[in-house]
Subunit: 374 residues, 2 copies
């Protein structure tokens, strides 16, 4: 193997490929980037236990003297390419198991991994993928993954349930204390789909959806899902098991509705949460709709002190006075998913789940379970 | 105690005072900010085991209804003031042991600490302080503290030795593997001084030397040193014991001198250090002055690979070819202290300390002990 290529082009592709590198793994070959060098194309493949990436690089600066395939320690390779001076990289295999990189006044030799150890990964696509706008997919991921569970006692809840039914797509995540659900309309009918994708995989996927490309193609097989985005193939394993049926959790009628300026509400909750004990994972604040249509956001920790914030709803609230307590973190996480400047917080009762919706966020609903307090 | 004040003014002063707050201490009162409220002045005092700060705030926005003194949990107080809306703060003591803070639509009550527990700290100044330009003092601190030891087995080496002899000031720090020394000229003769100040204290002091003020006054007593900077008094304890005599360590003659472009040398060392094993604290690189006047910077870790960097000296080097090995971190730390674009690296032999000097950095010398390799 022996080729030259423009350094910036190589680096930009490596920065995508490295997102599937394992940093800690008992299998050293998963810390490697596999390079397949053809006459007019460079293929990079990386994989860890959850995701795999395959990237095709075709560029006029690529000049291949000898084809071949190698497995290069990923972290060192990327760091070196990033730091090198010079416009052109010269890469070649020497002594059979070492990669020599020459650029500018630098001459680097890197021990390689055994390319035979790298697993065969099936990146095959099918003829009938779901097509989705990349901006929309990115938004759906941002609006849901945060609500997935991060603890492994119910593995299925660490994923996002994505279902396609003809022209509708819905994404749902829940850690059983809160739930996020987003519906979108697809451009045409697609085959039905019902999968659970690890939230961590989706969080890596959105880092790749930064290129100026419109469309993502989604290919499904039994055990994995493949996102095709220009010259990038991003594969994630799927979670086994049935995602819980969550539709019953969302109340249908809300006798109490308060419309807020989103930022007013967010800063009041942030301030109220300041005096909580930081040792615990989340502070509890209370919301109190007074009869005079002013909302109080309060917190009280006997050892530290208390905060009372007055927030004036954007409109006269509908319904009777209510007092409800909740995790400030869950509420703030949920608020961040809205592009709307104004949000509706809708209640059915003091110990019943409540939801947040936004006037400019069709199809998005955030549900939070309140906390019982004395 | 009861007063109102402009919020931004209060916050800016608190951000200085908080630098001497203890975050972990068995003495809760050291987590407090002491406020002394007089008719036209607010005094803030903080202290931890190493440094103490006293700050005077006089501002036309200060309106005192009732004087008094209180001790407020510092971290919560600063975070609340930072987050509050509104221009004006209203602070008052309620129920004897609680501070009420009202601003905008927020009403916060904070449990206070017992002001009687706060220690008496002597911030008295003397009539004959050393005067030094604040920019110069800041530069001296930045050029020396990094070379002090961070391990406590020889406590005296965790400090910076500062000596004044008439119109000369010298600052020296060493961890016994490297040494930094900076001489400056003072504007006039001052009384002699020879103290060792904890490097950590000085690192906090430079964070305060950001105000647009010219002069720092240095007051000394037996056990502590007091820096007076406008309305801020910054006191540090001194380290007991004798700082080692380091003048003999610095060679007087250098048969080998290489002049480098500082940045060329820095990036070559950075690249050479990339392939080292990161588990250890620092990677070892080698410098080799070849007979053809090219310098090679190399590193070699058998498990990962090797790097050879060629650096072209800014001028023909003086002296015979030399090979020397050193910690890349120590070398890069030292290079960062120079404003000069060109530096001289001066050697006496392959296993003797070498020094770095810069043509635009009079009085500054960085000394590094080489590492023996096979």
């Amino acid at each position: 193997m022996n080729f030259t290529i423009n350094k910036e082009i190589m680096l930009n592709h490596l920065l995508i490929a490295q997102k599937a590198l394992s940093t800690k793994t008992p299998a050293p070959y998963l810390q490697g980037i596999k390079l397949e060098v053809y006459q007019n194309e460079l293929i990079m493949i990386t994989s860890n236990s959850e995701i795999s990436i395959k990237l095709s690089l075709k560029d006029e600066s690529l000049a291949v003297e000898e084809t071949g395939e190698v497995l290069i320690p990923g972290k060192y390779f990327v760091e070196i390419i990033r730091k090198l001076d010079g416009v052109k990289l010269d890469l070649s295999v020497i002594d059979n198991n070492m990669l020599r990189i020459v650029a500018g006044n630098s001459d680097v030799t890197l021990n390689m991994l055994n390319v035979e150890d790298f697993p065969q990964i099936d990146f095959s696509t099918n003829d009938n993928p779901i097509k989705i706008d990349s901006k929309t997919l990115k938004a759906v991921i941002r609006q849901t993954t945060f609500a997935a569970s991060t603890i492994e006692n119910r593995p299925i809840l660490t994923g996002v349930n994505i279902r396609v039914d003809q022209q509708k797509l819905v994404a749902i995540a829940t850690d059983s204390f809160r739930l996020s659900q987003k519906f979108i309309d697809l451009p045409t009918n697609f085959e039905n789909m019902n999968v659970v994708i690890p939230a961590r995989s989706l969080d890596e996927l959105i880092k790749i959806l930064e290129l100026p490309l419109d469309e993502v193609l989604i290919h499904l097989d039994n055990k994995s899902i493949l996102f095709e985005y220009g010259n990038v193939l991003f594969q994630s394993r799927l979670l086994d098991g049935n995602f819980p049926e969550t539709s019953r959790l969302i109340p249908l009628e809300f006798p109490i509705v308060i419309k807020f300026n989103k930022n007013d509400l967010a800063v009041a909750i942030e301030r109220a949460s300041l005096l909580s004990n930081r040792e615990g994972s989340s502070s509890i604040v209370k919301l109190y709709l007074r009869a005079d249509n002013v909302v109080e956001i309060t917190s009280n920790s006997p050892e530290i002190g208390k905060v009372i914030e007055e927030v004036f709803p954007a409109e006269k609230a509908i319904g009777v006075p209510i007092k409800i307590a909740f995790s400030s973190k869950y509420f703030l996480d949920a608020l961040k998913t809205f592009v709307s400047d104004q949000v509706f917080v809708k209640f059915t009762g003091e110990i019943r789940p409540f939801v947040i919706e936004g006037d400019m966020d069709p199809g998005l609903i955030q549900l939070i379970l309140p906390v019982r307090t004395e």
